[in-house]
């Protein structure tokens, strides 16, 4: 049997890599993918705890997280399309003014 700690450590590693991608990448779409990576890491921890404690509630929360991630992806990519149309660039360092 695989110890729960292994899953939780993998979850922490993936979350850390998500933070690294979030900080280092400059393309706004890739930064958005980093957020999805962090959400996935959290889901892994949820399922690991759910299975270790023998409670199914954790998996229900994972389903809710996936629903919220889908809604977030729809709205976020809409914002990205508008930003790219207005600025003619996907680089976040060129999007540093609230006013055009």
């Amino acid at each position: 049997m695989v110890p729960t700690n292994y899953y939780l450590l993998l979850s922490a590693i993936l979350f850390g890599l998500g933070i690294v991608a979030f900080v280092f990448k400059r393309n706004i779409i890739t930064i958005f993918m980093a957020i999805e990576l962090m959400l996935n890491a959290v889901n892994l921890a949820f399922v690991a705890f759910s299975q270790a404690l023998g409670k199914t509630e954790g998996e229900v929360f994972v389903l809710f997280v996936i629903v919220v991630a889908a809604a977030e992806a729809a709205v976020g990519l809409g914002i990205i399309i508008v930003t790219a149309r207005n600025r003619r660039s996907l680089n976040v360092e060129r999007v540093d003014l609230l006013k055009l």
């Binding site: 049997m1 695989v2 110890p3 729960t4 700690n5 292994y6 899953y7 939780l8 450590l9 993998l10 922490a12 590693i13 993936l14 979350f15 850390g16 890599l17 998500g18 933070i19 690294v20 991608a21 900080v23 280092f24 990448k25 400059r26 393309n27 779409i29 890739t30 993918m33 990576l37 996935n40 889901n43 399922v47 690991a48 759910s50 299975q51 270790a52 404690l53 199914t56 998996e59 229900v60 994972v62 389903l63 809710f64 996936i66 919220v68 991630a69 889908a70 809604a71 992806a73 729809a74 709205v75 990519l77 809409g78 990205i80 399309i81 508008v82 996907l90 680089n91 060129r94 540093d96």
Partner: protein
């Protein structure tokens, strides 16, 4: 090492490699394909733990719907390689230490708090979809209905944002 542990390490290595590849690739479409590898590996891990319904949803919703949306937007905007800019000196020097510190903090907190429960570990018994749906449609039926409002608002928001102004 028993079979499940070997499978775990293979899938974990696949997930970590995919995440590292997401960071190292310069073209967004390559990053998106790396992220799909991570998601499929995580679906395998869910199956290993016995969460079969979550594994299926992970493949269908994350690997299918959300990533198709990403790839679609990348192609719609004709996103090219990342350009190198050096506007932010702070991110260059503080980025890696801060990321390592945060990951270490989370890992330390997790290991300390889970010391009591890790003796047995997930036993790999399947969570029956029946149990999951009983829980979802009885105890969590109110949050479940609220998510449909959330999706509705998200659809409206995406349409309003993406339409051209006249």
């Amino acid at each position: 090492m028993t079979g499940p542990v070997i499978i775990f390490f293979v899938l974990a290595a696949l997930a970590v490699l995919g995440a590292v590849s997401l960071i190292l690739q310069r073209h967004p479409i390559h990053s998106a394909l790396s992220l799909i590898v991570v998601m499929v590996a995580l679906a395998g891990l869910y199956l290993l733990m016995g969460a079969e319904f979550v594994a299926a949803v992970q493949i269908i919703v994350y690997g299918g719907a959300i990533m198709v949306l990403f790839v679609f937007v990348i192609m719609l905007l004709n996103a090219g390689e990342e350009e190198r800019t050096n506007f932010s000196k702070l991110a260059t020097y503080a980025g890696i230490p801060l990321a390592v510190a945060t990951a270490g903090l989370i890992a330390a907190a997790i290991v300390r708090s889970s010391a009591g429960l890790s003796s047995a570990g997930p036993n790999g018994t399947l969570t029956s979809t029946k149990t999951l749906s009983m829980l979802l449609f009885r105890e969590f039926v109110y949050p479940f209905e609220l998510t449909s409002f959330l999706i509705l608002v998200a659809i409206l928001g995406a349409i309003v944002l993406a339409q051209r102004e006249n």
